[in-house]
Amino acid sequence: MASNTHSTDAAHGDAHGAAEAAGMPQLDFSTFGNQIFWLVVTLVVIYFVLTKIALPRIEAVLSERQGTITNDLTAAEELKQKAVEAEEAYNKALADARAEANKIVAEARADIQADLDAAAAKADAEIAAKAAESEAAINEIRAGAIDSIKAVSKDAAKEILGSMGYKADAKSVTAAVTARMKG
């Protein structure tokens, strides 16, 4: 019930307030000069604070940050380039080392081959010398054997002739044996 009376009062008060609102403080021209004066003062102060201190400072900070970021990016790019170069150098060193190793292996192999060849040649020569020596010895032995056979044949022929009653002439026997041996 109490609230009911309140709301009727509220309606009254509202109407009252609306009537009063006709005199809006905004339309009180006597205050305009004062308002405009203080507004202009405020704007001038803000303008000077901004142009003299705040805006140059913020601009400097922003551009400095931009510069730092750009520098960092450039540095990162350089480091990346260096890393690529280092990798290339590493690969190159690796390839060089591999080539060197191959070369050394090939040289060693060539050396060994040369040694081997020399040794083989020497051995061949020795073998050849030994073979020639042996052949000479064999020939000597063979020659010795033929001489012995000749002598034995002469003696045998002389004996055979003697026993058959022929006077064997040593000269002609020798000639005959030699002629037979040749044939």
């Binding site: 109490a2 609230s3 009376t5 309140h6 709301s7 009062d9 509220a10 009254h12 008060g13 509202d14 009252h16 307030g17 009063e20 609102a21 005199g23 809006m24 403080p25 905004q26 339309l27 009180d28 006597s30 205050t31 305009f32 000069g33 004062n34 308002q35 405009i36 004066f37 203080w38 507004l39 202009v40 003062v41 405020t42 704007l43 102060v45 803000i46 303008y47 604070v49 901004l50 142009t51 201190i53 705040a54 805006l55 400072r57 913020i58 601009e59 400097a60 900070v61 922003l62 400095e64 940050r65 730092t68």
Partner: protein
């Protein structure tokens, strides 16, 4: 099953909390209901300009320090705190205050660059001044019992006239008579052009009016509505929680309006500046 149990467990707590709040509100309504319920809502009283010193009823001279002076000075202090003190570290990695200052700088700078063009950047400090002043006046005005400078048509009219006069003079200085091309719509049929020129001319001179009344009207209306609801809250006793809820909602809206109106005023300034620099349609 368990889920249902949890829900049933949660809902009584909410219910109890709700009823507790309601009980407190009702009780306080009964206890603190005004002794004289005769309602006096004066939503416009908050806009009165009074001398700050003396009995508060003296006559206003041109240089009298008023409550408006106080809140304008507070706006200056706020701007200095944000943009000067906030950025004093000049840190590459900004502190919280500095990044807000940088954000405000970037926000307005980008607006000027995008809307008015690259050659308008030299007017950026002036536009920043307008934006920061309106923004801080609007937000400081949201503090209860404070005074809102931007609710006064005299203030916003001066702001709008500064923009209007500056832009018009700049237009003629930059383009000479060619600035009048702004009113001569060369893309329209020749017969229509004089009519359009009249319309364009009228709309050009209406600009400062709409520019100023939009800001003052929005701010004033929001504050007056809050005050009217506050008057209801004082009168309704037990049911005062209804207008208090409404005040909360309107206040949230006003926070939005405070920013949006500063933004709108600034972006329109940029649009007018663009017209002055490039008057061709």
């Amino acid at each position: 099953m368990a889920e249902q149990g949890a829900k049933q467990g949660a809902s009584p707590i909410i219910k109890i909390a709700f009823f507790a709040v309601l009980a407190v509100v009702l009780l306080s309504g009964v206890l603190f209901s005004p002794a004289h319920p005769g309602l006096a809502i004066h939503p416009m009283d908050q806009f009165e300009i009074k001398p700050l010193f003396g009995d508060g009823h003296g006559k206003l001279g041109l240089f009298t320090v008023t409550n408006m002076t106080l809140w304008m000075v507070l706006a200056i202090i706020g701007i200095v705190l944000l943009l000067v003190v906030g950025s004093r570290g000049r840190a590459i990695v900004p502190t919280r205050g500095q990044s807000v200052a940088e954000m405000a700088y970037g926000f307005v700078y980008k607006m000027v660059e995008d809307v008015a063009g690259k050659d308008a950047v030299k007017f950026f400090p002036g536009i920043m001044t307008l934006f920061m002043f309106i923004l801080f006046a609007n937000f400081l005005g949201l503090i209860p019992t404070s005074f809102t400078s931007t609710s006064h048509i005299a203030v916003t009219a001066v702001l709008a006239m500064i923009v209007f006069v500056f832009v018009t003079v700049l237009g003629f200085v930059k383009n000479g008579v060619g600035f009048l091309g702004l009113f001569w719509v060369s893309s329209a049929p020749l017969a229509l052009r004089p009519i359009l020129a009249v319309i364009e001319l009228i709309s050009y001179f209406v600009r400062p009016v709409s520019h100023s009344i939009r800001l003052a009207g929005n701010v004033m209306a929001g504050h007056a509505v809050i005050k009217v609801f506050a008057g209801f809250a004082a009168a309704l006793g037990v049911f005062s929680f209804l207008p208090i809820l409404a005040i909360s909602a309107v206040y949230a809206l006003e926070v939005l309006v405070a920013f949006i109106q500063a933004y709108v005023f600034t972006i329109l300034t940029c649009v007018y500046l663009k017209d002055a620099l490039h008057p061709s349609h």
